[in-house]
Amino acid sequence: MEEFAALIRELDSTNKTTVKVAALTRYFQRVPNKDKVWAIAILSHRRPPRPVNTTLLRTFAAELANIPLWLFEESYHIVGDLAETIALVIPPAEESSEKSLTQYLEEIIDLKAATEADKKEYLHENWAALNYYERFVFTKLITGSFRIGVSQKLMTRALSKATDIDEDVLAYKLMGDWDPQKITFQKLILEENEEDFLSKPYPFYLAYAIEGEPGDLGDPADWSAEHKWDGIRSQVVIRNREIFVWSRGEELVTDKYPEFSAFLEVIPDGTVIDGEILPFPDGDIGTFNDLQTRIGRKTVSKALLNKTPVILKAYDVLEWEGKDIRTLPFLERRKILEKLHATIATEDLPFHLSETITFSNWKEATAERERAREVKSEGLMLKRWDSPYLVGRKKGDWWKWKVEPLTVDAVLTYAMRGHGRRSNLFTDYTFALWQDDELVTFAKAYSGLTDAEFRQVDAWIKKNTLERFGPVRFVKQELVFEIAFEGIAESSRHKSGVATRFPRILRWRKDKKIEEANTIEELKQLIPK
């Protein structure tokens, strides 16, 4: 544990990628194999299930720190991170623990089944025996969401340096559903093992947003265009008479979309399709809001299946006849996909092709992009016809070309403190629009201002708080911001009657008075008919 905590401390104390990779590489070269597996698991978000809920964690920590619970809660709102708050309020330890990272994780896994009293005893004992950083890391292992500014990509790069195995090969090995408790480093990283690969998806190829004009991309004949669908990016893997559905977050979501089991009857083994899961109520593509009703469910009721079925909008094929074809040009892969689609498509099969758009010049492509909201897409995807399917986010061959966002001017009404690097700053805002003479909440937004602007707004909020509700501050209605969002749909779950997709702050309209903010009525007019 000492070494892992030291690693996290080192990663924490630099902003430079090269330094982070070097620290991780040294760690991978130094620690026992079992710890390596766990470190990889944690840094790729495969934490053990949370053994103690956060309410208990807070109570236990406040007790050990000998402070009232409300004071712990207030401190947590200000610090912005539960594990960090716990590490800070508990008095420092005298010595550091000798247990390894693996030992701690095994104990944490076992802790889930323990009684509440045993949980408390275990946590009190270990919190008191760990120094600040170890305690922070230990608690992070329990609370999960280990965000420390190290992407999986960085971790993979370091692992590659430590093992001399190619980065892309490692990315593939680390995909999918492996259990850090059972797997060895030998098996996970060092060995070639066909069987393990049965369910594995390929690392997703991700596009950057286009810079400048599409005209800069050159000859339109070199480019394919299709709509950019607003659902869940996923890979459907069919091998050995089994189907696996993976989301981009490398989560296995097969059970959430039972519709797709129909693919097994028509798609041959050794096929991997890349596409988008889209809601398809009433025989047409729905909104992301419709899809929300499916995302959170582990098991899906018949009623929900009928109300909001899903389809796979397929746009690429990565494996065909058991062969990895990612290096074939996109044009060739597309031919295979289209042929497959033509062979198997029926009205009932939830397998749709993401059609390519014919265009002979960029003006035509631009015109098609303007139709995006009509067809429920976010814009266009431009892919070079001769491009291979790469690993991760790479520039050059694939571009996303989104439509301009919708915008309204709204009034800041409530604020909360942010998390992570924004902890202790008021950066999470609620915005409202006019309805008759009232300001009605319509969206929350957390991003879009520069650090300097956030500091200014933060200072303003601290001076203009009218009321406090726990961590939430109701502020004087004075500031107007232009809010951008990607999509909009009617919603009975929102007070405004409208749900917006990915709202964020576009700019601070210092020139506007609150009377000039938009109305809910004007917002509703933006809903596509």
Partner: protein, 347 residues
């Protein structure tokens, strides 16, 4: 000490500052007044425009440096001076060089205004001394149990090892700390056996003012003429406002570090985008605040800048008559959102 139920408090808060009506004197006022008693030299406590300033004599050259030619009289710690039958005296606050608490006594009632203070002896300012009183006006910049300072010697060891490590990697070290107080505290305990210490102009100017009162190591001001090779392996003390400015380009290759109480938070460290965050504050931590209040024996506490709501609620639950008061003091916030303090000295 029990407090008499009186009609009007001896010290009250108005739109200009903390006012002592029977004496006609303000303490650390934020708007121009006739007569002001000043606790210390930071910009949010010693403002421009008062007709007459009274402060500790060590602070006289400091505020003159910041405010120019003003009418100011210097006092010793413990020296009593009477204004309209109200007795005033200054006691060490341990915050920075020349910092004081103000004791106010009238008709048998004693109030103390803490200004900013810290309980640890920093080896450069006269250590904090609790003063018995009925009512205590306290800052609570770091009034949360999440703040627990490590001993200065340990933090300085960390800073010196960081410097040494950077030097061994062929890099310069830039250490940010505000120019009055923190900079000299760092300077005093930097290990000169490692290398040379360089300063930003704002810090060098202030250090020159403070040198007569503190035994400080030699420093070299960085000017346009300073050669890159001279700085190699050294440590550069700079105000936080220099971070991200073109000024620091001369120091390439470098690592940055910041010394502040806020560095206790990972979020704050990441926000400042410094490589090393060192938790070193000139304010009291949670325990320091609580023990100081206890030592005053006071019954009433008025909490000013910082986490005043939370802190006063906790005090109320623990038997004090505590409340908050709005002021325009910024405490250590000033160094996280650098404004006036360093800028007027940058040029």
């Amino acid at each position: 000490m029990p407090l008499k139920k009186e009609k009007k408090p001896l010290l009250c808060f108005d739109d200009k500052g903390i006012y002592c009506e029977p004496a006609g004197v303000y303490l650390d006022p934020w708007k121009p007044v006739d007569k002001a008693i000043i606790t210390h030299g930071h910009a949010d406590h010693s403002r421009w425009g008062h007709k007459q300033y009274i402060t500790h004599h060590t602070n006289v050259p400091i505020i003159k440096h910041r405010l120019g030619e003003i009418e100011v009289s210097g006092k010793e710690y413990g020296e009593t001076f009477t204004i309209n039958n109200v007795k005033f005296s200054l006691f060490p606050a341990g915050h920075i060089i020349g910092s004081s608490q103000v004791r106010v006594e009238h008709k048998g009632e004693v109030w103390v205004f803490s200004g900013d203070y810290k309980t640890e002896d920093d080896g450069i300012s006269v250590p904090f001394e609790p003063v018995k009183c009925h009512a205590f006006i306290t800052e609570c910049t770091f009034g949360l149990p999440a703040f627990k300072w490590l001993p200065q010697v340990q933090v300085m060891n960390d800073i010196n090892s960081w410097w040494q490590q950077n030097q061994s990697e062929g890099k310069n070290s830039i250490l940010f700390g505000y120019s009055l107080g923190k900079a000299q505290r760092l300077l005093k305990f930097l290990d000169t056996s490692i290398g040379s210490i360089f300063t930003h102009g704002a810090i060098e100017n202030m250090t020159e003012v403070v040198r007569p009162f503190a035994d400080l190591p030699e420093t070299t001001r960085i000017t346009r003429e300073t050669k890159k090779e001279e700085i190699k392996g050294g440590v550069v003390l700079a105000p936080p406002s220099a971070h991200g400015s073109t000024w620091i380009r001369k120091m390439v290759p470098f690592e940055t570090g910041m010394a502040s109480g806020w560095m206790a938070f990972r979020g704050a460290r990441r926000r400042r985008a410094v490589d090393g965050g060192f938790v070193l504050s000139d304010h009291s931590d949670w325990q320091g605040l609580l023990s100081s209040i206890k030592a005053t024996g006071c019954e009433r506490v008025i909490c000013t800048h910082g986490y005043s709501e939370i802190f006063s609620r906790f005090l109320n639950e623990n038997g004090y008559d505590a409340r908050t008061a709005e002021t325009q003091y910024e405490g250590e916030l000033a160094e996280m959102n650098p404004k006036s303090e360093d800028k007027d000295e940058d040029n």
